[in-house]
Each structure stands twice: as structure tokens, then as C-alpha cells.
């Protein structure tokens, strides 16, 4: 037995997961109640809870407060929470899939593909027969095409390699973005403004009908990802280590690619392209709970939801009665927060030990 390594231990003990999850849940609930209460017509938190309780017990009162809370703000806040949770979770997984801290859910071409689809709808009235669903349908179709293209191009001898994925994602995204630019260039100015607003992301058009699909996708993806928690940890050590630990690498990479693309695609379809949440939240969460995926995934889901609900609240309040694009807010809060955290923890991200 060798002598023990010489160095005084530095405290690096992790916070207990139940406490972290409880704190994040409380944060999410408080954010959601705030998000519903604050607005052009303020509703007290007590009244918010009363309206929700009335509806859940089946005795709605049909007051003005009821209409504002139940028909407008609650679906909006729920959608923001779902999209935030989806993007944060997908971002966490994409960063491991390509083993790159700069990756986000839109790396693999999903957002640029969705832009082409949505732009085609907004400018040229494609899928007009689908009415309110046309933009969602267009963006999902665009996202699927882009994702399929990246998947096919980055395959090497039936394996997806991380570097190939990044390169093909970046290159094809640039291609699809130029198609979007071309469409905007050809379109009429009024419609172009609608496109730009859509590209920046918003929850302004949230309705109850929009909620089920993102909720189902998030639940199914989360179940799969939690089941793969150990394999994700092994994958985080590198592809050779994962193979040595008995992980079926090709299968895992392919499934993760499909799951994260689907999550990003659905998020884009219901709310446009909201950047930064999928990049920043995973890092903030890892700084809080470490990189163990069975800890990171549920925390990222809850924290991502809170982050987005608060971001949407700010977007509505800061320049009221106008609404800021949510993407502006997420970047303005996320960037400084991440920089502060990174500078306080220099050992993360492979800094010399």
C-alpha cells in the first residue's frame, strides 16, 4: 500500500440533492406566482392562489382577475417553465454528447432549420390551412429536416463523432441561416418584422392548447435521460472510457442526438428561438451540484424553469407596456451570472490543478 498522497483536503463536499431540489422547487413556485401576479393589472398572490384553487376544485368565478390569471398569465407562465426546463435539460445533455462546454441545444441545427420553416410560414403563408398551428408546424418541419441533415452528414462508419457533430451542426446552421436571410430579403417588410420578432422568442401568444405537447415531450425525455444517468456520467469521461465501462456508445449517442433535437425542436415551435438558457443554466447548475447527471438533470430542469419564468417576468415589466424579447433578458442575466461563477471556481473546465 503506497503512502497517502500528500496534500491537505479542500472542502468539496456536495450539497445534499433533496435539499437542492426542494430549494429549486420553492424557487420555481415563487417565480410562477410572481409571474402570474405581476403585470399591467396587478393581482395579489393571494388572489392568484384563490383563482387556481377555484379552478382545481371545479368552481371558477368568472371575474376579471380570474380571466387574467387563468386564461392569460397561467398558461404563459407554465409555457415559460416548460420551455426553460426543456432547454436547460437539452443543453446539459448536448454539452456531454459533444464533450464541449460551449455547446447548446441549438448547436445541432435545430434552431436554424426551424427558422427557415417559420419564416416560410410567416412570409409566404405556407401551411395556411393549419391556422394558428402553421408556425409551429413549419418550424417543427424545418427543425426535423435540419436535424436529419446534420445526423446523416456527421455519421462516420455508423458512429457519430463529437467533433464531426459540432462541425456539421455549425456548417449546416450557417447554411440554413442564409436560407432564412434569403427568404427575409425576398419577403415584404411587414411580414419581415413578424419574422424577426418570432426569431427573438416570446411567450406572448401562450394558450392552454400549446401546453400538452411540450409537457409530454419533456416528461418522456426526462424519463429516458434519468434512466441513462450512469451512461451519461460514463460518456462525460470520454468515448473510450465509456466503451471500457460497457456503454453501447453508438446507440447512446444516436438516442441522445434524437432526444435533444426533439426537445429543442418542440421548444422552438412553441416559443421561437430563446438563446442562452440552454448554454448558461447547465453551467450554473453544475457549479451548484457538480456534474453527476442524476443530480444535474433534475436540478437543471427545475432551475431552467425558474430562470425562464423570471426572465419572462422581467421581459414584460422592464419596458411596460411594451414587451422585450425574452432572448434579450436571458442573455443579459445569464452572461454576467456565468462569468461571476466561473471566476469563483477556477478549477472547473479543465483548468490546471
Amino acid at each position: 500500500m503506497p503512502p497517502p498522497c500528500q496534500r491537505a483536503p479542500i472542502a468539496g463536499r456536495r450539497l445534499p440533492l433533496p435539499a437542492v431540489l426542494l430549494a429549486c422547487t420553492v424557487l420555481l413556485l415563487v417565480s410562477m406566482i410572481l409571474g402570474i401576479a405581476v403585470g399591467s393589472v396587478p393581482v395579489s398572490p393571494r388572489a392568484v392562489l384563490q383563482v387556481i384553487a377555484d379552478h382545481l376544485t371545479g368552481h371558477p368565478r368568472y371575474s376579471v382577475a380570474d380571466a387574467i390569471v387563468w386564461e392569460i398569465r397561467l398558461p404563459r407562465v407554465l409555457l415559460a417553465a416548460l420551455v426553460g426546463a426543456t432547454l436547460a435539460t437539452a443543453g446539459t445533455v448536448v454539452q456531454v454528447l459533444v464533450r464541449n462546454a460551449l455547446a447548446d441545444p441549438f448547436l445541432l441545427g435545430v434552431s436554424s432549420g426551424a427558422s427557415v420553416g417559420a419564416t416560410a410560414v410567416l412570409l409566404f403563408g405556407a401551411f395556411a390551412s393549419l391556422g394558428a398551428w402553421a408556425i409551429s408546424a413549419g418550424s417543427v418541419l424545418g427543425a426535423l429536416i435540419a436535424m436529419g441533415a446534420v445526423f446523416l452528414v456527421s455519421r462516420q462508419e455508423r458512429a457519430l463523432s463529437p467533433t464531426q457533430l459540432i462541425l456539421c451542426g455549425v456548417v449546416l446552421s450557417a447554411l440554413f441561416e442564409s436560407v432564412t436571410s434569403f427568404l427575409i430579403f425576398r419577403g415584404n417588410p411587414q411580414a419581415t418584422q413578424a419574422v424577426l420578432f418570432w426569431l427573438l422568442g416570446s411567450f406572448g401568444l401562450a394558450t392552454w392548447q400549446q401546453l400538452p405537447i411540450p409537457a409530454i415531450v419533456l416528461a418522456a425525455a426526462m424519463a429516458y435521460l434519468l434512466a441513462q444517468g450512469r451512461s451519461l456520467n460514463a460518456l462525460a469521461l470520454g468515448s473510450e472510457s465509456a466503451v471500457a465501462l460497457g456503454v453501447d456508445l453508438h446507440l447512446l449517442r444516436r438516442n441522445l442526438f434524437i432526444v435533444t433535437s426533439l426537445m429543442a425542436g418542440v421548444a422552438v415551435a412553441v416559443s421561437g428561438i430563446i438563446g442562452f438558457v440552454g448554454l448558461v443554466v447547465p453551467h450554473i447548475v453544475r457549479l451548484m451540484v457538480g456534474s453527476e447527471h442524476r443530480r444535474v438533470l433534475p436540478t437543471a430542469m427545475l432551475f431552467g424553469a425558474s430562470f425562464m419564468v423570471l426572465g419572462d417576468l422581467l421581459a414584460r415589466v422592464i419596458v411596460a407596456p411594451q414587451e422585450m424579447p425574452i432572448g434579450v433578458i436571458t442573455a443579459f442575466i445569464g452572461a454576467p451570472l456565468l462569468i461571476v461563477l466561473i471566476r469563483r471556481r477556477p478549477y472547473l473546465y479543465g483548468a490546471a490543478g
Binding site: 503506497p2 498522497c5 451512461s231 456520467n233 462525460a236 473510450e240 471500457a244 460497457g246 453544475r286
Partner: protein
């Protein structure tokens, strides 16, 4: 618990890197894989832990062919400490060693007391208890290598593959790591850079050059000035280690300070004879 290679050949990108390698690592012994840079040592190891698929030949674990086993089952029998391990994400020592339990767990299994006990024992075995809650990226090179060995131990395999476990380490950690590996009592195959160190710790060594096995056996028989020259193309003196009698290599200069033109190297033309 033996590990056997039979006529193993590996192609990478259509080029044959390793040709017809065959040797056996008997139960509980420590075998060293020696050879110059680029001779195919890592490729042989990667074929064993299934990163590369053999173009021909077989790898057998306890007489069973590896390619017939499921990835999980291979991982339960063979643990690996790979070369050049870098970690992009922040794991503590305990978390990292716990990942070694992966091949023993199913989808929603939680870490149970057995896993925690095995992880704790593995960390203790490599003498890193006091580092258990430290971040892996804050450790020194020698500490990192020990933690990776602990992860391999937690995997519960009775075969261990190591790719250059002592490169980048100073002499204290080189000796410590190899002493640790030799004391584990499991079947070990390690690619080792330093021939004398390998001779000191390994039960058998196998000398590889240009993807082919030159010779193999106990270090005393295998490592001579002639075989080392055949594999590495360099002149060395081989002496016996004063304590163990194992072969120890002393490099020779091709040009010695007191002797401008040594006999072992071709003499350069004298300057005055250079002109016509």
C-alpha cells in the same frame, strides 16, 4: 482469469497497424507491453477493450472470446485506465470512482450500500481516502492516476488494462503507481514507456515493433542489448539491477565527449577530408 491474444491484427483507416500478435497473460500476473512510440502498443490495448475491432484473430478472457460477450459483460471482466485522461466536467473523487460501478447497474438502480462500500474500499486501496471529496481536476498527476486505478478497481473486474500509466509522472509516483498495480493480485496488461521500470515490476514483458511481436517472456530472458536494438534501433548497455537482478538499461551516447568518433556509430567525415 487469464487474458489471451491469438493472431490479433488491427486495421485503422484501411492500414494494418498490428499484425498477428499472440501471447497469454496468465492468471494474476503483471505483463508489460514494450515498444517504441507508434509501434502499436495502444492499438493492441484498444482492441482488447473494444475501441478497435480486430481485423483478424481473437481476444480471449478465461478462454471465452470477447466479441461474443455483451459490452456490459466485457466491462465486468476488463477494467481500463486509458492514456491522456482529461475531464471536461467537474466530478469529485468519490463520484468518479462510483462511475466504475456502471456495468453492474441497471437503468433506475440507485447507488446502494454495496456500491458505496466497494467505492470506499477502492479509494482506500489506492491510499486516497483524504481526497474523497476533492474535485478530480484539483489533483496532481500522480493522485489522478491513483483515482483512475480506484475507478477501475470499483468496476470489480479481474483484468486490468493500463495504457502508459506512468508517463508524465516523476520517479516517486512512477514507482508508487507500479508498486500499487503489482500489489493488486489481478491480471494486468500495461503498456509501459520505461523499459527498466517494466523489468523491475512485470512478471513478463512483450516487445512490440512495427506492429509485430518480437519476443516475450520473463524480463531477464527477453531484455538484452540485441532485442532492445531490434525493437528500438538504439544501442544500450544492459546490467543487472543490484537488488533484484532484473535487467536495467543504460543508454549509450552515439558520440562520447572524450571520444569524438565512437565505434558503435558511423564516423563522420573528418573536416579536412571533405574537399576534393
Amino acid at each position: 482469469m487469464s487474458l489471451e491474444l491469438r493472431g490479433l491484427s488491427v486495421d485503422i483507416a484501411g492500414r494494418r497497424i498490428v499484425t498477428g500478435i499472440g501471447f497469454t497473460v496468465p492468471d494474476g500476473t503483471f505483463a508489460g507491453l514494450l515498444g517504441p512510440n507508434g509501434s502499436g502498443k495502444s492499438t493492441i490495448l484498444k482492441a482488447i477493450y473494444r475501441v478497435h475491432r480486430p481485423a483478424a484473430g481473437q481476444v480471449l478472457v478465461d478462454g471465452k472470446e470477447l466479441s461474443a460477450l455483451r459490452p456490459r459483460d466485457v466491462a465486468r471482466r476488463i477494467a481500463v485506465v486509458a492514456q491522456e485522461f482529461t475531464l471536461e466536467f467537474d466530478f469529485t473523487v468519490t463520484e468518479l470512482v462510483m462511475i466504475g460501478r456502471t456495468p453492474h447497474k441497471r437503468a433506475f438502480d440507485r447507488d446502494d450500500d454495496t456500491d458505496r462500500a466497494i467505492t470506499g474500499q477502492a479509494i482506500e486501496r489506492v491510499g486516497c481516502q483524504h481526497l474523497a471529496h476533492r474535485g478530480f481536476n484539483t489533483l496532481s498527476g500522480g493522485e489522478k492516476q491513483r483515482v483512475l486505478i480506484a475507478q477501475a478497481l470499483a468496476q470489480g473486474a479481474d483484468h486490468l488494462i493500463l495504457d502508459e500509466p506512468t508517463s508524465h509522472l516523476d520517479i516517486r509516483y512512477q514507482v508508487e503507481i507500479l508498486e500499487l498495480v503489482a500489489s493488486l493480485g489481478i491480471t494486468v496488461l500495461a503498456a509501459i514507456h520505461d523499459i527498466s521500470l517494466a523489468a523491475l515490476f512485470c512478471d513478463t514483458v512483450h516487445l512490440i515493433a512495427d506492429g509485430q511481436l518480437i519476443t516475450g517472456g520473463p524480463p531477464q530472458q527477453v531484455l538484452t542489448a540485441a532485442t532492445v536494438h531490434a525493437a528500438y534501433g538504439t544501442e544500450v548497455l544492459v546490467i543487472a539491477h543490484p537488488e533484484t537482478g532484473t535487467p536495467h538499461l543504460i543508454p549509450r551516447r552515439t558520440r562520447r565527449p572524450d571520444q569524438p568518433a565512437p565505434q558503435t556509430a558511423p564516423a563522420p567525415d573528418p573536416p579536412d577530408a571533405a574537399g576534393p
